[in-house]
């Protein structure tokens, strides 16, 4: 066990070096198309306009910049976090993939093996999405209309289905807690926006409530 801890420290420090490098490259790549189009058309937004754009973005999504990486961290760990916040689709693709990779290899949450497996799962999901999105970007416009209507209708339900299945898997480890937290989160989604709190904060509030519920549950079950 101690040897594993040592190895995982080494893994983390390599992941950190690599991650920071790729994050920096991604940050540059992120602006290349905008700079290119502005250069060939000669239409550059002014500094004031850029600031205005940035403010609009931050106002609409700024809460997410902080809340989302923090929320997903326990599931995807550090190496996964680097990839997730460049590649996106974290809730619906990355986290389920990480979760399944851990599950089939019988990992216990929080162990070094679980950390490696979740990273393997996220890498696998990145390969899949890059290949699929690139394929459909090249030929998709022609292929999509050929899909049967029933299949298209099925795809309309991708999100509730993947999240329903993931939740079943997470909750099966502790069913009572899973059900209580699900109910509290559903209540949160209904109530929080009505209190005038920005919608982006609902996730954070629900997580805090979930942790408080778990604390109460922990106190109650440990005393017995």
């Amino acid at each position: 066990m101690n040897k594993d801890q040592e190895i995982i420290q080494g893994f983390r420090s390599s992941a950190k070096t690599m991650g920071l490098l790729f994050v920096t490259i991604a940050l540059i790549c992120n602006f290349i198309p905008a700079i290119y189009v502005s250069t060939i058309t000669g239409q550059f937004p002014s500094v004031g306009q850029l600031l205005q754009l940035w403010l609009a973005a931050a106002a609409a999504f700024g809460v997410g910049y902080i809340v989302q990486p923090v929320s997903f961290f326990p599931i995807v760990n550090m190496a996964g976090t680097f990839m997730c916040w460049i590649c996106g689709n974290v809730g619906e693709v990355r986290a389920p993939a990480a979760n399944m990779a851990q599950k089939v290899t019988n990992c216990e949450q929080g162990t070094p093996k679980a950390e490696i497996m979740s990273c393997i799962g996220i890498c696998a999901s990145v390969f899949v999405t890059v290949i699929m999105i690139s394929f459909f970007a090249l030929v998709g416009a022609q292929v999509m209309p050929l899909m049967p209507k029933f299949v298209m209708k099925m795809f309309g339900f991708v999100l509730p289905c993947v999240l329903g299945a993931v939740y079943a898997d997470l909750a099966s480890k502790n069913f009572v807690l899973g059900v209580i937290i699900l109910l509290s989160s559903l209540a949160g989604i209904m109530i929080v926006p009505k209190l005038g709190i920005p919608g982006g904060l609902t996730m954070l509030i629900n997580i805090i409530i979930a942790v408080l519920i778990a604390r109460a549950y922990f106190m109650a079950t440990n005393k017995k």
């Binding site: 594993d4 790549c29 700024g62 460049i86 996106g88 696998a124 999105i133 690139s134 970007a137 989604i189």
Partner: protein
């Protein structure tokens, strides 16, 4: 030069490809790093590949979500931009909302035929600025988040930290699930039905085929398919 010509120009495909190459290389390097460290820990290669296969199969279904938006986004902002933005960070509705805000600021609109060159330029800058929020905070913040988790592990009761992490994950996924079912305070019954079927299917697969490793590898994908099929069939 017309905006339509630039939107789908070969050079813009090239300019947009850097991000995707970077993403692919990153996953490849991390995958190698994982395998190397798994070897050191004595985790058999076969086990790593089992995890890998399962994650691949699990991702194929949900990956259709960005693919469908890709097709929609291609019509509005052109192939290269849609390709790049669906591969990198930013959910479908985020990208659409951001480009709508940005084009509106340029006095243009995303509606077909109404997008001006300045509107397109603003959309590109707007999405780049918005995405850098996640890249900067998520990317550069990852090491500090790791420190916070290590601090938790070192200073608190191990059983509690485990429960804490599990509860945080439950809180997160119940919110995501809730958002997929409840739209603007109203329960979408079709989505609710789909989620319940997948939920039950996953539990059943987990119980009945507990010992069958091959089926467990595909369980999430299977549960999803069952839910999607039933919802499309009965709703």
């Amino acid at each position: 030069m017309e905006v339509k010509d630039i939107m789908n120009s070969p050079m813009l495909w090239v300019m947009s490809s850097f991000m995707i190459i970077n993403i692919f290389l990153m996953a490849l390097m991390f995958f190698r790093l994982c395998l190397k460290n798994a070897d050191k820990m004595g985790i058999p290669r076969e086990e790593c590949m089992t995890g890998f296969r399962s994650a691949v199969f699990t991702s194929i279904g949900p990956a259709f979500a960005p693919v469908i938006v890709l097709i929609a986004l291609m019509a509005v902002l052109g192939g290269p931009t849609a390709w790049m933005r669906m591969n990198d960070i930013g959910a479908a509705r985020t990208e659409l909302a951001m480009s709508a805000i940005a084009t509106g600021m340029a006095g243009s609109s995303l509606e077909a035929g109404k997008l001006t060159m300045l509107g397109f330029v603003f959309a590109l800058w707007g999405m780049a600025l918005n995405n850098s929020g996640w890249i900067v905070i998520g990317g550069y913040g990852a090491p500090s988040l790791n420190k916070a988790v290590e601090y938790l592990r070192d200073n608190f009761n191990a059983a509690w930290v485990k429960l804490f992490m599990a509860a945080a994950a439950l809180g997160l996924f119940s919110t995501l699930l809730g958002n997929a079912i409840i739209k603007k305070g109203v329960v979408n019954q079709k989505n609710l039905f789909a989620a319940i079927v997948s939920f039950i299917a996953m539990l059943i697969i987990g119980r009945i085929f507990k010992g069958n490793k091959k089926i467990q590898e595909f369980s999430l994908g299977l549960a999803m398919l069952v839910g999607m099929f039933c919802a499309a069939m009965f709703m």
